[in-house]
């Protein structure tokens, strides 16, 4: 157990969680274990708030034996460094995007995201049913981390200065993206700049478009103030995996009953990021459209068929270049898609591709 970290439970603020003092006297006076957890978000944003709540649940469920202090992004290590830092034991737990660990093993890229790959829903199926979980753990084994929970983020929006209708129209334009592989092949001037520069670049026109997060998240930092158009479908990060991981040494010190509680607590709310970010984005879109601040565009699907073929070529190059776990992950994904898509195609939801009105069965009042 850590020696410092506070025994006065306070609540409702930043860097510290807190046990609630309203519970009965069965709470342990001093936690047996005090852990530090760094998350990918800042206070007030969904990943921080949700993990804080989970930490509170764990505190109660263990009768105050395990206290997890939740700290915002960058408190102990930058996002890029955080996985290794957790594995090194700087802090015990981390919630973050494993793509940031790709410097350790390239396999974290296909494990975590991809251009023109499957959507969040399908990725869930792969993770839980078709081998994804074990492959993720295999990658984390390299940095002394145990995988506790997976969250899969859904579709993001492209923030743009022009209502691009196709990749063709984007040729020669400047796009900020985290993954330039496919764009470069199609003549888009892909720029991988970090957030500090994106905002200024977007508002001054140094870039013509930028992908960052879902619409709700982008609104939070004001990207919706500097872009006129929001464009779908998401072809750059069709899904994005967040993982909750724990340092193995710290984990092994926990008694089995607490281990069980921690696992259950973190896994219980996994879907919520996805539901919340997507629903809030829907509401945000409605508001932005109503106020006339932004307009939204959907690019026709057909053009992506050829792009998917290109992407497959890129993936093959990755396999050749990196082999090992990267190859294993791609093979597992292909195998899954071969099994899954024929079924999904024939058994698909009846409303796929219909207009909102057709799905409702009535004309909603404006």
């Amino acid at each position: 157990a850590t020696g410092c970290g506070g025994n006065q439970a306070t609540s409702g603020q930043g860097s510290a969680t807190s046990g609630s003092s309203s519970s009965s006297g069965t709470m342990a006076k001093q936690p047996e274990f005090v852990w530090r957890m760094q998350v990918i978000h800042n206070t007030g944003q969904s990943d921080f708030e949700q993990n804080k709540q989970t930490a509170e649940k764990i505190y109660k469920a263990t009768n105050g034996r395990l206290k997890i202090e939740v700290h915002p992004n960058g408190t102990f290590a930058s996002s890029m460094e955080a996985f290794q830092a957790a594995g090194d034991g700087v802090f015990e737990m981390l919630s973050s995007w494993p793509i940031y660990a790709k410097g350790i093993d390239y396999a974290f890229v296909p494990l975590g995201t991809g251009n023109l790959t499957m959507d969040a829903h399908d990725k869930w199926v792969w993770v839980y049913e078709a081998g994804g979980w074990d492959l993720l753990q295999k990658a984390f084994d390299k940095i002394n981390l145990k995988l506790l929970a997976v969250e899969i983020w859904g579709t993001e929006v492209l923030m743009a200065n022009q209502p691009f209708k196709s990749i063709e129209e984007m040729k020669g334009k400047k796009m900020r993206t985290s993954d330039p592989r496919l764009l470069e092949k199609n003549g888009v001037a892909a720029i991988t700049m970090p957030l500090e520069e994106v905002f200024t670049a977007m508002s001054t026109g140094a870039v013509d478009m930028a992908e960052f997060g879902n619409l709700d998240w982008n609104k939070g930092i004001g990207l919706t103030d500097v872009a006129k158009y929001g464009i779908w479908p998401d072809f750059w990060n069709v899904h994005f995996i967040t993982t909750v991981v724990v340092n193995k040494n710290a984990w092994n010190k926990l008694p089995p009953d607490i281990q069980q509680i921690v696992e259950m607590a973190f896994q219980s709310d996994e879907l919520k990021h996805w539901t919340r970010s997507q629903y809030r984005s829907a509401i945000t879109m409605k508001e932005l459209e109503k106020s006339g601040k932004m307009q939204f565009v959907r690019m026709p699907e057909e053009q992506f068929i050829k792009l998917r073929e290109q992407m497959y070529e890129i993936e093959q190059e990755d396999i050749k270049k990196y082999g090992g776990l990267t190859a294993e992950v791609y093979q597992s994904l292909y195998k899954f898609m071969e099994d899954w898509y024929p079924y999904k195609d024939i058994a698909r939801w009846w409303g796929w591709g219909l207009t909102p009105e057709q799905q409702l069965g009535y004309q909603p009042k404006k």
């Binding site: 930043g14 007030g44 700290h71 290794q84 802090f91 520069e197 340092n247």
Partner: protein, 440 residues
Amino acid sequence: MTPLETILVVGIIFLIVLFMGHPLAFTLGGLGIIFGATLWGNPGVLNLFVRSTNNLITSIAYASIPLFIFMGAVLERSGAADDLFESMYVILGRLRGGLAITTVVICTLLAAASGIIGASITVMGMLALPSMLKHRYNPELATGTIMAAGCLGTLIPPSIILIIYGAQAQISIGKLFAGGIGAGLVLSGLYIAYIFVLCLLKPKSGPAIAPEEAGKYTSQQKIVLAIKSILPTLGLILMVLGSILFGVATPTEAAALGAVGALLIAALHHRLNWQMVKEASFATMKTTAMIMYIILTASMFTSVFLGLGGGQVISGIVNGLNMNRWLILSVILFIVYIMGMFIDSYGVLLIGVPIFTPVVYALGFDPIWFAIIFAVMIQMSYLSPPFAYAVFYLRGIAPKEISTAQLYRACFPFMALQVISLIILSLFPAIITWLPSKIM
């Protein structure tokens, strides 16, 4: 130990070591490691310092620091900076304090081109300080002007602090930028007014050109001087600024363009040669390493402070407050100021934003207004002795004749002006909130 006791012990030992004259960078790094190793409760903490290092050596935002410093070093050696200030000295004629006022104006322009404090202070220390000292300006006025105006970059966009604040508090960064302009101009205006009045009352603080000297130049000559000496450097700074505003370059790239511009100006002055470039490179390295080691170790110390429960201590204080809303606001701002004395501004934001914003919103203060006021306080903490980053940055390049005590004293009048700006911004909040409400 409770977190409060821990933090008190940490703070006291820190101040003792600092006052015994141990170099700041090693004080922050060494004590960060010692406190981490003894109080953290987990040997893994030592790897924290590896991570802090990796974080800083890959930071695009900080990459602009050496680039700006190099621009300053070249301008200094090209003679352009000297020409600029000499010409201003002549052109402003009998206006006392004219060089200091010029410095504030240039700092304001630089602030619009850079988001990082260390860059402007060192650049202006190289460009403006020699001229002011040569013309017998009071060293405290000269250095105070550079340190205070060199901090304007936190308010005038682009500003790294406002970007981080916006991302943390979920406030539109564009609106924060718009809000920062008004407050930045108020401060800049106050500095100019102060210099003007001070030199009016105490002519020796910023002596004007002697009448017989001034008489030597006809107005035609002055115009030629202006074109030859002022336009290139001013044009360069405006070009750096313009390249950002018109979307040609990102802030880091703009700093590089500035360096190229400085080399061109040096060529115009027939001073561009390998010897000069070499010296400018050496000077850049020494200044950059000095500043960056402080930034590096400050981030290490900050992470340890956060991990030892620094945030809990502060939220404990704030959540216990029960008084008039303006008093609560004052206490909060005072805490921001105290925190800024010990830890870096990123740490102040990490702790402060989540703890203070709910309280302040509940009291009915405007989110954008508060964010900007917060940024003013962070700026003030850069100037506040004993742990004043601005003093340390300028110390690294100021001549040895200027003592550290003088630099500390130089801060006080400008801190008073910052307090006045807080009062003005509180009485007229529209200075901050008007522009954000108009443009978006």
